[in-house]
């Protein structure tokens, strides 16, 4: 299963793709897409849309994973992330790829085993599970990989439950 995690933002969008087979997951690729604040919002959103469309093709993604809940103190920040998330979802729809979403609590529970985990623990487990020798180039990429790994984990639990019912 090839899973593309996406951490959307208008200025920085993190992409992280993994390939999962049974109990093993390996890194396929990572990308940090940056847009310039001096460009108009339409051009920045178009760049994000194109990057996601391209990544879906390059990694032959079967599913795209985004964060399902956002905790932004500022409305303005929520609006910017929302616009980026909108074009990410549109890119997936245009490519015919389904989108799954998980909340921060689900990510922490899936990767660290407790919803009380902090960001550093999640980032550590991303490296450990994928056997990375260095940290991803940005926390946006690390967060994207964490989402992809959460989907893999949820899928494994579902698959195990199904096999136990047989």
């Amino acid at each position: 299963m090839r899973i593309l995690g996406v951490d959307p933002g208008l200025a920085n969008l993190g992409l992280g793709a993994i390939e999962a087979r049974g109990s093993e997951a390996r890194l396929l690729s990572t990308e940090l897409v940056r847009t310039r604040s001096r460009d108009d919002d339409g051009a920045r959103l178009a760049l994000l849309y194109d990057a996601v469309r391209a990544a879906i093709v390059v990694v032959d993604a079967e599913v795209l994973v985004v964060e399902g809940q956002f905790f932004h103190r500022q409305r303005d920040a929520a609006m910017k992330v929302g616009q980026a998330l909108g074009v990410v979802r549109l890119a997936a729809h245009h490519a015919g790829v389904p989108v799954s979403s998980y909340g921060p609590l689900q990510v922490k529970q899936a990767l660290v085993g407790t919803g009380r985990a902090d960001k550093a623990q999640v980032a550590y487990m991303v490296r450990a599970l994928l056997g990375l020798t260095s940290a991803p180039p940005s926390h946006h990429v690390s967060d994207a990989l964490a989402l992809a790994l959460t989907h893999w984990s949820a899928h494994r639990v579902t698959a195990r439950a199904a096999s136990q019912r047989l």
Copy 2:
């Protein structure tokens, strides 16, 4: 000048197009695009994107106008409006049409003459300025027309200032 106003929302998106020549503005078309909550967000956003792309072609829009500031008490609502706004901006960019934005205060000042105007006064002026005999089918459409009229008003002020400098 053909101006397409857009009031974005995931469930309801209002479109209102006007044609302005000097001191006169007339209604070109209105549309209320509704999406179903049982459909997935990607499909809903794709429907909004397609509707905006189509409207740009149908009215041969030279500029698209959206609200520049949003006052949503709930983050969840801001995220949904943000996603819709993202695909609206993308549609305009893909069609090569520039986007202008105005805040609620600018709309009230342009149409009613005071930032203390309420929504009913703005809606009344939309009908009066365009000579409509009945109210638009939805407040989303009325808001879209108000944005288009605000752009026309701002453009007239700029044009007058330029002619006075000659």
